[in-house]
Symmetry: C2
Subunit: 329 residues, 2 copies
């Protein structure tokens, strides 16, 4: 079949609200620093009311990755649910303005477009409280077979293991992708997601996943170990390619018994780590879809991650295509 897209992603469509906070605020709001927690609407309202003035920007993990791939010049599409409201307009605009496809039907008469309330501490660490809103109304009907079947890679976020209906959409998309001979990539998304769905995630990895993304916390949580080397050995035997990020230590890629250690690009300013993992995945997948070697895929990921942590917001502020060219990639 014709390959129309490099990557199609399914994820929680989300608008981020980013505000400065300090550690005292996190403690008072009972938030675990660096993590993502799901919140309901009353809690979202109370937390937002307590937060500092913010900036709104399109977000959502897989949506950020698709934006990054499009910024590299890749052909990318996104499947996710927003409401027919102004923040839904913002989300759709920001993907399309980069040339990405986003045509999932909008939700009418239900909850508003989902929001991720992100408190960024002076160390650049982001702590996320997510009100899924319209995002949880994503169903298997929203998964377009032609879209998935015409994409070289299907990319899924672990966050989708939380909403029941989204998980069915997930399973449908995976079946379509493999039926069409496509690759499936998954990110574990968050340590607490792994805690909530360990067995389900391991089962999915064993049967469906070709490329796995995780950070150190997540891969250790998956195998219930504090030993990073043990965790990477355990994952190496379970999927064709695993890319594990380690913040300023860079990343480790495991494939076919090989192990590539990729350094982090030095970031000039650490402002906000939001989107670092998402942009790493963007660079990696863009490279992978283009048939680049795994170490180049990792370097493209590191480059995109370094760019995004140098400013507020989870998506690139410059053209990643130009940035890659300037860095000889």
């Amino acid at each position: 079949m014709n390959t129309k897209y490099d990557v199609t992603a399914i994820g929680n469509a989300m608008v981020d609200v980013i505000a400065a906070a300090d550690d005292t605020f996190l403690a008072r709001q009972d938030m675990a620093k660096g993590a993502m927690m799901l919140i309901d609407e009353p809690r979202a309202e109370a937390l937002y009311g307590a937060m500092a003035p913010g900036v709104e920007t399109s977000g959502g993990s897989a949506g950020n990755t698709i934006a990054g791939i499009a910024s590299f010049g890749g052909r990318a599409a996104f499947i996710g649910k927003v409401a027919a409201d102004p923040l839904g307009d913002v989300f759709a605009h920001d993907l399309r303005a980069l040339g990405a496809d986003f045509s999932t039907p909008r939700l009418s008469g239900g909850p508003a477009t989902g929001r991720c309330l992100i408190n960024v501490t002076p160390d650049g660490e982001r702590t996320m409280s997510t009100y899924l809103g319209a995002g949880v109304e994503l169903t298997a009907h929203d998964v377009s077979p032609t879209l998935v079947e015409s994409s070289r890679i299907l990319y899924l976020e672990g966050y989708l293991f939380d909403p029941h209906e989204a998980r069915r959409a997930f399973a449908k998309a995976a079946g379509l992708a493999h039926g069409a001979g496509r690759s499936i990539a998954l990110t574990l998304s968050d340590g607490f997601v792994v805690e909530r769905h360990r067995a389900g995630l391991l089962g999915f990895i064993d049967t469906q996943v070709d490329i796995l993304f995780a950070n150190e916390t997540e891969i250790c949580a998956l195998f219930e170990t504090g030993d990073f080397d043990a965790a990477t050995k355990a994952i190496a035997g379970r999927c064709a390619v695993a890319a594990v990020t380690r913040g300023e230590l860079g990343s480790v890629i495991l494939a076919d018994g090989e192990r590539f250690v990729i350094p982090a690009y030095p970031a000039r300013n650490l402002i906000d780590t939001t989107g670092a993992g998402d942009q790493y995945a963007a660079g990696f997948l863009y490279g992978f879809a283009g048939g680049r070697s795994l170490d180049i895929c990792g370097r493209l990921g590191s480059l995109a991650a370094a760019e995004v942590i140098g400013h507020y917001g989870p998506r690139p502020a410059v053209s990643l295509r130009d940035l890659a060219a300037a860095n000889g990639l």
Copy 2:
């Protein structure tokens, strides 16, 4: 009467959409660089569709000034109209989170919260296209007499000369303020606003304005001259205090036959000039309400303007109170 607020402002309540653009884009969209133009809803949709991915942040000239005054630690209130929609929530949140009062009733069943589409070119210059939305539904009913009468200064934006009903709100507020022995400050807002309403603005200045803010373009437009010195001489005779900003040349303050030349603070990075004039007014009015000398008022204005042009967005990213203390003000 008791002075509850330092400054109450009336302005167009607005959420800004900020995106990067180049000069070719401005030319193709037929936009005058650095200016503000009013657009209707279809044009807003078409322009937004053509713009790059953006970031949303609360804006509106007088709202930005109130945010700046609150950030200095001043007691500030805002009167303006937003809709009962998510962007209206964002606008209200961002003012209240700084401790400013905002209690104008929301608009239901009418247009959405107004938006200002801001294209920022690589030279940091912002070009604004404003869809007023709910903002034009501001009426004299929304002007709370107790609020205006209990504020040391009433601050008005020249943009309000455009919508007919808002201008009546403007006149009501001015009458209340003078009746209570308060000062009235006005910003000319934009060169094209001056062109559209020259006679009305001059009449208002002669009869009502104690403190006038303008930039070089606006003050020259007001007196139909290309000669800056002639323009400042002309304004000096017409209101008690005039503060005229000149970008990197700083500002000139004219009062009681005196003329203070205030240097600009060096900005480390020029990223986005949006809000520079608004934050100059914030610093100046905060100082003025506190009884500081005119040259200190000007320096507080310059400091706040230098902060805001160093990042995207029209409102301070740090506490202006802390910044002033760090600079011996």
